[in-house]
């Protein structure tokens, strides 16, 4: 068994690694092992649990030395123990949707924010955290990532799971592929980002995104909403490129775009009809013929009915308008992601009440003759026009931790600071319909909380504490571990 496991692990490492030294390979082995044998998450039958325990024991005993360097493994203590009660005392509290509390306390109990105020009840046994000189914020939320789907984008295709083949993949769901043990996750959360929407990419219908807590041993354990949104790369002329250079406006390109939109229209209509047929059968199984099951259409039904949001990638003015008109025609619940030219269609967005995820604050302007700050100030213009928006990094995972600086840049170019903070906390929660659980410091919400020694959007600020789901997490990541290992090397 031992040998078999070793063989299994080394074969994984072998297929994964490129030319690299032995120490590196070791570390990779560690990561992969964690990826394939979740320590704490096997639920279900007793046999399964027993098997898991045996596996854990074996793997621990035979690989303890190797794992000494392990950089971001979740300590089983963290997930197996009951949720503690914490009280944060004497801190400045930025509630985000209410007034700031200059000196107050937050009680965290049972995974949730129990009380917030100048004085809170501190039960016996609560872990006290001295917040003197510190500021309490809600954890930041990024709605435009591929978190856990892409580990190393270049040169390690085995770690890339964001884009399925083919154009229409509504049944490709991120929740099945998020690697809960990606190094990106701990690296991101220790920077104060506690939640990310992990989206598939590519094709026309890319798949379904999962809204994640950036902590947990398995995708399901991390998921706040496992199937939260449908991602669509709205067909555009010259699509599939990177948004650079002039699009090739030929009649063939136009025709192709129109054909793709037509395909999209058709599949939504089919899904809608499919849903009705299934309902009819369910209501009257005796007289209605049982319809064939179609997993693709089944996956689309809640989106086709407007029950869950559909995210459309659209950058340019015309693409944004077209995507929104399409969504309205099909009675969908649209969100636009990208919207580099959002400021130009601000009134249209406002009029149609469509929210926007701005994931290009730090991109270069689309056109050479665009104002140098056109993307920096996009957010402030949308905000001034009353458009619902939030800010995202648009990063696949490694740099999602830069979310606050994206919001900060928008604030440097006209977005009021309080709005910039909301753009990475409350607004993304509202846009995704989870503001009852995330986005502010309010009793009843999930205790996803970040405590800092300064303004959370400033690069100079240090994150001091992170809580996700009411649990204080160590500020340890692959990066802090490597730092500890080498910083004092002579």
């Amino acid at each position: 068994m031992k040998n078999y496991l070793r063989y299994f692990l080394s074969s994984l490492a072998g297929s994964y690694s490129t030319a690299s030294g032995s120490a590196r390979d070791q570390r990779k082995t560690v990561i992969l092992r964690r990826a394939f044998i979740p320590l704490t998450t096997v639920r279900g039958s007793v046999t399964a649990r027993l098997f898991a325990s045996v596996m854990i024991l074996i793997s621990l005993s035979c690989t303890l030395v190797v794992f000494a360097q392990d950089t971001d493994r979740i300590d089983p203590q963290l997930t197996n123990t009951p949720l503690p009660t914490y009280v944060i005392l004497n801190a400045r509290i930025v509630t985000v949707n209410g007034p700031e509390i200059e000196k107050g306390s937050v009680l965290i109990s049972g995974g949730k924010i129990a009380q917030v105020g100048a004085n809170v009840y501190s039960p016996a046994g609560a872990k006290e955290i001295d917040g003197t000189g510190l500021t309490v914020y809600p954890g930041m939320i990024d709605l435009g990532t591929n978190m856990g789907l892409v580990e190393v984008p270049t040169g390690a295709p085995g770690t890339v799971d964001a884009q399925e083949l083919g154009d229409m993949n509504p049944n490709a769901a991120a929740i099945w592929s998020v690697n809960a043990h990606s190094a990106h996750i701990a690296v991101t959360r220790v920077g104060g980002v506690t939640n990310a929407l992990s989206l598939p990419s590519g094709g026309i219908i890319s798949g379904q995104g999962a809204l994640l807590n950036l902590f947990g041993s398995s995708p399901r354990e991390m998921a706040l909403v496992p199937e939260a949104v449908l991602m669509i790369e709205f067909p555009r002329i010259g699509g599939g490129g990177f948004g650079f250079g002039a699009p090739n406006i030929t009649s063939e390109a136009t025709t192709q775009r129109d054909r793709r939109i037509e395909e999209l229209r058709k599949i939504f209509r089919d899904a809608e009809a499919y849903g009705r047929a299934q309902d009819a059968y369910r209501n009257d199984p005796k007289s209605v013929q049982r319809p064939q099951t179609d997993p693709k259409l089944a996956a689309l039904v809640p989106y086709a009915r407007g029950e869950r949001p559909v995210i459309f990638r659209a950058e340019r003015e015309r693409e944004i308008r077209a995507a929104i008109r399409f969504a309205e025609e099909m009675k969908l619940k649209p969100i636009i992601i990208g919207a580099s030219e959002g400021a130009k269609v601000a009134s249209f967005l406002k009029e149609h009440n469509v929210p926007v995820i701005l994931d290009g604050v730090l991109n270069l302007p689309l056109r050479e003759d665009d104002a140098y700050d056109s993307l920096y100030e996009n957010a402030s213009k949308l905000q001034a026009a009353g458009v619902r928006f939030c800010i995202s990094t648009g990063d696949s995972g490694a740099h999602v931790r830069d979310l606050p600086f994206n919001a900060g840049m928008a604030a440097a170019f006209g977005l009021p600071r309080a709005e910039a903070l909301k753009a990475v906390t409350l607004y993304p929660a509202q846009i995704l319909g989870v503001a009852d659980r995330l986005g502010s410091i309010e009793p009843g919400k999930l205790a996803n909380i970040v405590i800092t020694d300064g303004d959370i959007l400033e690069a100079r600020t240090n994150v001091k504490y992170v809580f996700i789901g009411g649990r204080q997490l160590p500020l340890v990541s692959r990066h802090t571990m490597l730092n500890d290992e080498f910083k004092d090397r002579k």
Binding site: G155, D373, N483, F486
Partner: protein, 471 residues
């Protein structure tokens, strides 16, 4: 004759236009600002006088020379122009000469495009000078150029006179073409890090022999020998001889610790110094060795994980190198990041606990030292070049933006002027869009396709040149 006249007229027009747009104030006095000198702390309520392209005075209640432009610096911050120690901006056509593994004959100075919009955007982010490096697709790349971002000037004004010459080396995945094995492309030696080492060793072995040939020849001529033939000039080896003679800086792209040690080994053996390790993502693992060799380091602040050799990159790299005594800078390697190097520097306070002054040095004095131009750039000191930036807030704050950027005392970016010009540009664009060439074709089809914008370079490590990309 007529033609000559036309050329002269055109030239005159050009000069007229440039004179019209060129800032011609003889002096500028920035009054009552917070001055981040970098060399001697922070001075509050201080004036800075720029005259004849130099910083003429720093102090309180300075008198403005007649005709001087007055800038009210109240509530604003003055920082030396940011220096980007790793850039490919304005490199038109191509960043990489990829066809050979040693291309030390290729010169970046020949391909500068002074109208590249990146220059202006970078000035708007407070960056005023850059080390323009050849790409990283070969072990020994082309020659670098140290420039000031003199937007509005001809290309010849960009290189900084007297700046020490440099060359790009590259180690690891890029020179071994790991991620560029595209069907149809002929593979190129080397394909391993061993081969990269061998390529560099081979080149220096040849360069050493070549130098000996010339040394022998010069000695013979010196002895008065008449009938000696000079060796045949070799444009590939000449720059390598300059490296051996300590006359040319080596700026080497590198990621992993092993390859950093490899180049140090070769350099020690052949008797030259690596000036800067560029990217140097795993520099933190061998910081002592880098310090002992006497090299400097220019890194990303926190860019990591984009390929296997970047998977051990950590944002504490710069702090660890700094604490080991390695003069370090934070660079962009990107037309995008080059617009906000101030924030990249600020991150180094969060990651590794540098002081504010240390953080500011990462993008001002330290890169100036690495480029060998610290005698004239990198601090606010009297006598240094008037490359200064006026910021709306402390430049290490995410809420800061640039108000004005001066290069050699000339105002090359002014946010208020930029905003004021936007309507006019919008109108001009509308006029152009309505021009015949842009109208729909008579048959009712779409308008003619505009030609594609040439884009040699977009982002860090985005070294795929057009010919590399699958169509």
């Amino acid at each position: 004759m007529k033609r000559l006249f036309a050329v002269a007229a055109l030239l005159g027009l050009c000069i007229a236009i440039s004179a019209q747009t060129r800032d011609i104030a003889p002096a500028t006095l920035i009054k009552n600002a917070t001055v981040l000198t970098v060399s001697h702390g922070t001075l509050t309520n201080t004036d800075v006088l720029l005259r004849n392209g130099k910083i003429a005075a720093v102090g309180q209640n300075l008198n403005a020379p007649s005709g001087a432009r007055i800038v009210d610096g109240t509530g604003k911050f003055v920082l030396p122009g940011i220096i980007d120690a790793h850039s490919h901006t304005m490199m038109d056509g191509s960043v990489n000469e990829c066809t050979k593994s040693v291309t030390s004959m290729a010169r970046t100075q020949d391909i500068l495009n002074p109208t590249a919009i990146g220059i202006y955007r970078e000035l708007a982010g407070g960056t005023t000078a850059a080390l323009l490096l050849h790409g990283s697709c070969n072990a020994i790349g082309g020659l670098s150029t140290t420039v000031k971002l003199k937007w509005g000037h001809p290309a010849g004004d960009f290189p900084i006179p007297g700046a020490p010459p440099g060359i790009k080396f590259a180690l690891g995945e890029n020179p071994k073409r790991t991620n560029f094995n595209i069907p149809g492309l002929t593979p190129r030696y080397p394909a391993t890090r061993m081969g990269v080492e061998e390529t560099i060793r081979d080149a220096f072995t040849r360069a050493r022999d070549y130098k000996r040939d010339w040394d022998d020849y010069r000695a013979a001529v010196g002895h008065g020998e008449k009938n000696v033939m000079p060796p045949r000039r070799d444009l590939e080896l000449e720059p390598l001889v300059e490296i051996l003679e300590g006359k040319r800086f080596v700026h080497s792209h590198c990621y992993r610790a092993d390859e950093i040690l490899m180049l140090i080994g070769i350099a020690d053996e052949f008797g030259f110094k690596v000036r800067t390790f560029q990217h140097v993502l795993e520099g933190y693992k061998v910081a002592s060795e880098i310090a002992r060799h006497g090299a400097m380091a220019s890194a990303f602040a926190d860019f990591w994980g984009y390929k296997m050799e970047a998977y051990d990159a950590i944002p504490y790299d710069v702090a660890i190198l700094t604490r080991h005594g390695v003069v370090s800078s934070v660079n962009s390697d990107s037309d995008e990041r080059a617009r906000r190097l101030n924030i990249e520097a600020a991150k180094m306070i969060r990651y590794g606990g540098l002081t504010e002054e240390e953080a500011l040095k990462l993008v001002t004095l330290n890169p100036a030292m690495q480029l060998g131009v610290d005698n004239r750039l990198g601090t606010i000191d009297v006598g240094k070049d008037a490359d200064v930036v006026v910021w709306s807030a402390h430049p290490l704050s995410v809420y800061a933006h640039v108000e004005q950027t001066f290069v050699d005392g000339e105002l090359l970016f002014d946010r208020q002027a930029d905003i004021a010009r936007r309507q006019q540009l919008e109108a001009e664009r509308k006029t152009l869009e309505a021009a015949d060439a842009n109208k729909p074709s008579p048959g009712g089809g779409p308008p003619r396709t505009p030609s594609e914008i040439r884009r040699a370079y977009v982002h860090a490590d985005d070294i795929q040149d057009r010919e590399d990309q699958p169509r």
